[in-house]
């Protein structure tokens, strides 16, 4: 390991450490397969939510139509009775 330079500046040790950190720490590249896989997983997760939303909308429409039909048949039966 290199020796620390002495006495050049008042903050000589900090500067030496900063140089060392600068030269030794560098960014790494994640595995491209991981990056793509995670991207797919994130969009797949969202698609499931979308399907859920659509199915609940369909269910609400079916229930609304069914309620209207029950109500109409009730009204018609009342009119016929009269």
């Amino acid at each position: 390991m290199e020796r620390l330079e002495k006495g050049k500046k008042p903050n000589w040790i900090d500067q030496s450490i900063e140089n060392r950190l600068n030269s030794l720490l560098r960014p790494v590249t994640p595995d491209p397969r991981f990056v793509q896989k995670l991207k797919k997983r994130l969009s797949a997760k969202a698609e499931i939510y979308l399907e859920k939303d659509f199915s609940s909308i369909y269910l609400m429409i079916i229930l609304a139509v069914f309620s209207i039909m029950v109500f109409l048949s009730f009204l018609i039966s009342r009119i016929i009775k009269k």
Binding site: M1, E2, L4, I13, D14, I17, E18, R20, L21, N22, L24, L25, R26, P27, V28, T29, P30, D31, P32, F34, V35, Q36, L38, K39, R41, L42, S43, K45, A46
Partner: protein, 200 residues
């Protein structure tokens, strides 16, 4: 925060992120646009991975926690407020919290043996580290991992991610002055650790 590093990545999509209107993309992502969220993911995945990789010391945990960060971001993006912190800082905060949980759940991993660090540096999936097989970097990482979590984050964000004190403050929830002071104290601690290592 600069996007220079991510633009160099091999994993980038065909679209050049440099020319994207990020605030607009962010608005769309908040409204639930998945394509917009995908662009934000591509812009940030490398920096978040880097941060977690240096904090955990291995690529398996880095991948696992990176996935959790983006899953959480996707589920919480509607509660993200643009005015509070930049989006990247918000992601770093999520990563910071998840790494803290990881340390809590695996408390023995606080102490990373030198052999494990050599393994980490020489992993074939990070060929850029193959050429730096020497004692100095192993010792440096050993010393960094012995620092308090906030100090580790500060060093990684400053030297690996190249962020300013102001950006680091937004991530760690500190003022710029507090980050400056923490940085100074961290350098002193590193200096002492290096001196002790030299004596040994």
């Amino acid at each position: 925060m600069d996007n220079e590093k991510i633009e160099k990545s091999e994993s980038l999509p065909d679209k050049n992120l440099k020319y994207l209107n990020i605030p607009e993309v962010l608005d769309q992502a908040i409204m639930g646009d998945l394509e917009a969220f995908g662009l934000l993911y591509q812009e940030n995945v490398q920096r978040i991975y880097n941060y977690i990789y240096y904090r955990t010391g291995n690529s398996n945990d880095a991948e696992d926690i990176t996935a959790r960060v983006f899953n959480r971001a996707l589920s919480k993006i509607q509660s993200y407020k643009k005015t509070e912190v930049p989006f990247a800082a918000w992601l770093y905060r999520i990563a910071h919290n998840l790494v803290a949980n990881w340390y809590r759940d695996n408390s023995r991993k606080h102490e990373v043996p030198l052999e494990d660090q050599e393994f980490m540096l020489l992993r074939p999936d990070h060929p850029e580290f193959l050429i730096v097989k020497d004692q100095e970097i192993n010792m440096l990482l050993e010393v960094i991992h012995s620092l308090a979590p906030d100090r580790q984050s500060l060093i990684i964000l400053k030297y690996v991610e190249g962020l300013s004190n102001s950006d680091i403050g937004k991530i760690l929830g500190k003022s710029e002055g507090a980050v400056k002071s923490l940085y100074h104290r961290t350098l002193i601690e590193l200096k002492e650790s290096f001196e002790n290592e030299n004596l040994d």
